[in-house]
């Protein structure tokens, strides 16, 4: 059992998200990287994809997150207020969102479709209603604007 864990950790580089990066939660609303216009999905000049998300009482910003299929996506999530949870149901993208830290994880989505992204740690009375939608898009559906930003809307 132990051997399986050690070997799999080594061979597949499976690690829990452990990106220790501090950020001041109290000034997050004036932070440049996490400014409203920088949130969401962005294709960087080198072609990599980064998604920046703020988890706050009681919503994820943005609420709809488009990502490309079959390409590595880096999520950077942080909270200005209390502890939240980041979890894309049906995948292994899972991390706590602890105020004071940027939770960062990388994952690849191999199946297109809509994934539910609920907050999975109690954050207050509106916790149950705090969720976002991850849309894994392929082919022509995946597109960005001129600045490399991709966005989507949750269907009513």
């Amino acid at each position: 059992m132990i051997a399986v864990i050690v070997v799999s950790s080594f061979a597949m580089a499976i690690h829990p998200p452990s990106h220790v990066e501090a950020i001041d939660p109290t000034t997050l609303n004036t932070n440049v990287e996490f400014a409203e216009c920088n949130l969401g999905t962005r294709v960087n000049p080198d072609g990599s994809v980064t998604v920046r998300i703020i988890a706050t009482q009681f919503e994820f910003l943005p609420r709809c997150i488009p990502v490309p299929k079959g390409q590595q996506v880096t999520f950077r999530v942080t909270s200005p207020d209390v502890i939240h949870g980041f979890f894309i149901a049906g995948s292994n993208a899972n991390t706590m969102v602890v105020p004071g830290y940027v939770a960062q994880l990388r994952t690849v989505f191999s199946t297109a479709g809509n994934y539910l992204m609920p907050c999975h740690e109690f954050c207050g009375l509106g916790h149950s209603e705090m969720w976002a939608l991850v849309k894994v898009l392929e082919g022509a559906q995946w597109k960005t604007d001129a600045s490399g930003k991709a966005s989507c809307e949750i269907p009513r």
């Binding site: 132990i2 001041d24 207020d81 979890f87 899972n94 969102v97 004071g100 916790h127």
Partner: protein, 542 residues
């Protein structure tokens, strides 16, 4: 009973089960809310207050009071000597009782809806934290009494092995002392100053790490009374000696060692820790299979002896020959089954790589309800069925309602938690009041939630039947001989090395492991640049 401790023990275990019954009602109601049926009073406010109360009772009140009461029972019956101080014991009880009230009242008022894990920055009423602290301080009185009682016995019986039941109880006392360190520091230095308004900022990463220190071994504190019963009560009930006394001691010691420096497996998904110490603690966590397997082997062997003594033949014939009508034998077997299933789920949780799949989903809830609500609490019932008649000097004429209650609990917990495992894999998060089952992504969850709700009501029925069973004992016929007999090993050890008869070596080893495992993870918060969060009060407002 000798030494006049009946009322002390009855008070502890009585309050313990009274709160359990209340929390069982809340549990069933919460399942109903989650199922999508709108039961009365269901709002986010009431739901999360209920979750807070359920967790606080089941985590801090019920098992602590039970373990204290059972520990007093063992200290008096296994050592055959009075408690070193009845006054201290009663003081501990009243501290815990007042603490229970102080913790529950703010929850009911909606002023401490922070859940029993109280992850700051969410901060509730100061009375809630003071209440939990009082429970812990009350239990420290018990710790002192257990260590003290064993020291007196060893002084009076130099060179003789401490009875196994007491050795296990004192293991638990030391375990608990180590366990409460983390949460006590968090409550005293972080939560109480924050809830009083003395501090405005709180180091969230530090608080989570301190809580993780406590959160895992607390489960072993709950578990140890069950293990003590496995070793010293179950073989006796089955009519056989214990297969090995030394195995029992080793298991208790290993549980002490490998419950403490492992709590960071609760923080695998946390961004405030690097991989190195997560990995170390994952490795240490895995070692807990050693005492578990030792115990399953030893108890199964003892049971086989019992079965064969009763005329059981063949490879499996001894199983049929066991006295299944005795609640302790039945409960031990059911508990092993639940421990097996729960252990399987736990292996996934603690797996360094697999945890990401199920962290904070219903899978986790299923795991700890199976282990604690299942394997442990069913043994609490069986222990109570055994010791309550001794305390009262009365005996139930008919044990069928007792067996029915144990079966109901067993079936209830299976029906409740098996669907939760499935739901966890489907991605259902825990700690959510309402789901939108109209959403096609969530709709497949609902049938599973319904099934588990049914299990929750079975458990509620079982808990109420338990209270009834205990209540009817008060009118049962008195018995003459009400002494307690513990199982004795096939070859009782005449003398033991100090290492297996005391805790000095093991406490030093725990200290070493704790320093290695937590030294840097806790120290980093004072070395790195960290940004604390603003305390988030939930108990203010009109």
């Amino acid at each position: 009973m000798k030494y006049r401790v009946e009322n002390l023990i009855l008070a502890h275990i009585g309050v313990s089960f009274a709160t359990l019954a209340a929390a069982a009602v809340l549990g069933a109601w919460q399942m109903t809310v989650r199922s999508g049926i709108d039961p009365p009073f269901a709002t986010p406010e009431t739901y999360f207050a209920s979750v807070s109360a359920h967790g606080t009772i089941m985590g801090y009140v019920m098992p602590t009071l039970f373990t204290m009461g059972f520990g007093y029972f063992v200290a008096v019956t296994a050592l055959d000597q009075p408690l070193p101080s009845m006054r201290l014991a009663w003081a501990g009880f009243w501290l815990a009782a007042v603490g229970t009230v102080a913790a529950i009242v703010p929850i009911v008022m909606g002023k401490a809806t922070v859940l029993y894990t109280f992850y700051p920055p969410l901060t509730g009423s100061v009375f809630y934290y003071l209440g939990v602290l009082l429970i812990v301080v009350g239990s420290w009185a018990w710790v002192a009494l257990m260590i003290w009682a064993m020291a007196i016995w060893k002084r009076d019986n130099p060179g003789r092995p401490v009875p196994l039941a007491m050795f296990g109880t004192v293991t638990n006392a030391y375990l608990w002392l180590w366990t409460t360190g983390g949460v006590a520091v968090e409550i005293i230095f972080q939560l109480i100053p924050a809830s009083l308004g003395w501090t405005q900022m709180i180091d969230v990463g530090l608080a989570r790490t301190l809580f993780a220190w406590t959160l895992h071994p607390i489960v072993y504190f709950w578990l140890l009374p069950a293990y003590i019963a496995f070793y010293t009560m179950a073989p006796q009930a089955a009519g056989a000696p214990l297969y090995s006394d030394v195995m029992g001691r080793l298991s208790f010691i290993l549980l002490l060692l490998f419950s403490l420096p492992v709590g960071m497996h609760h923080l695998f998904m946390d961004p405030e820790h690097g991989t190195a110490f997560k990995f170390l603690q994952a490795m240490l966590t895995a070692l807990v299979v050693l005492p578990t397997l030792l115990t399953i082997f030893t108890i199964s062997a003892s049971m086989e002896i019992a079965g064969r003594l009763r005329g059981g033949k063949g490879l499996f014939g001894w199983i049929a020959a066991l006295p299944w009508d005795r609640p302790m034998v039945l409960a031990t077997c059911l508990s092993f089954v639940l421990l097996g299933f729960g252990g399987f789920g736990g292996v996934v949780n603690m797996a360094y790589g697999m945890n990401a799949m199920i962290h904070n989903t219903s899978w986790v809830t299923a795991h700890f309800h199976l282990i604690f609500g299942g394997a442990v609490v069913i043994m609490y019932y069986a222990i109570t069925y055994q010791i309550w008649p001794i305390l009262l000097g009365r005996e139930a004429a008919d044990v069928r309602p007792l067996r029915l209650q144990l079966w109901l609990w067993f079936i209830g917990i299976i029906i409740t938690t098996f669907p939760w495992h499935v739901l966890g894999l489907l991605g259902q998060p825990r700690r959510i009041a309402t789901f939108d089952y109209a959403n096609p992504a969530i709709a497949p969850w609902q049938p599973w939630v319904f099934v588990s709700m049914f299990g929750g009501y079975l458990m509620l029925a079982s808990a109420l039947l338990f209270v009834w069973n205990i209540a009817t004992l008060y009118r049962a016929r008195p018995v003459g001989d009400n002494r307690m007999h513990y199982a004795v090993a096939v070859y009782p050890p005449a003398r033991l090395p100090n290492a297996l008869n005391g805790f000095a070596l093991w406490n030093w080893l725990v200290l070493f492991l704790m320093v290695v495992a937590y030294g840097y993870p806790l120290g980093q918060f004072f070395l790195m640049d960290v940004y604390p969060g603003l305390v988030h009060r939930v108990d203010i407002g009109s």
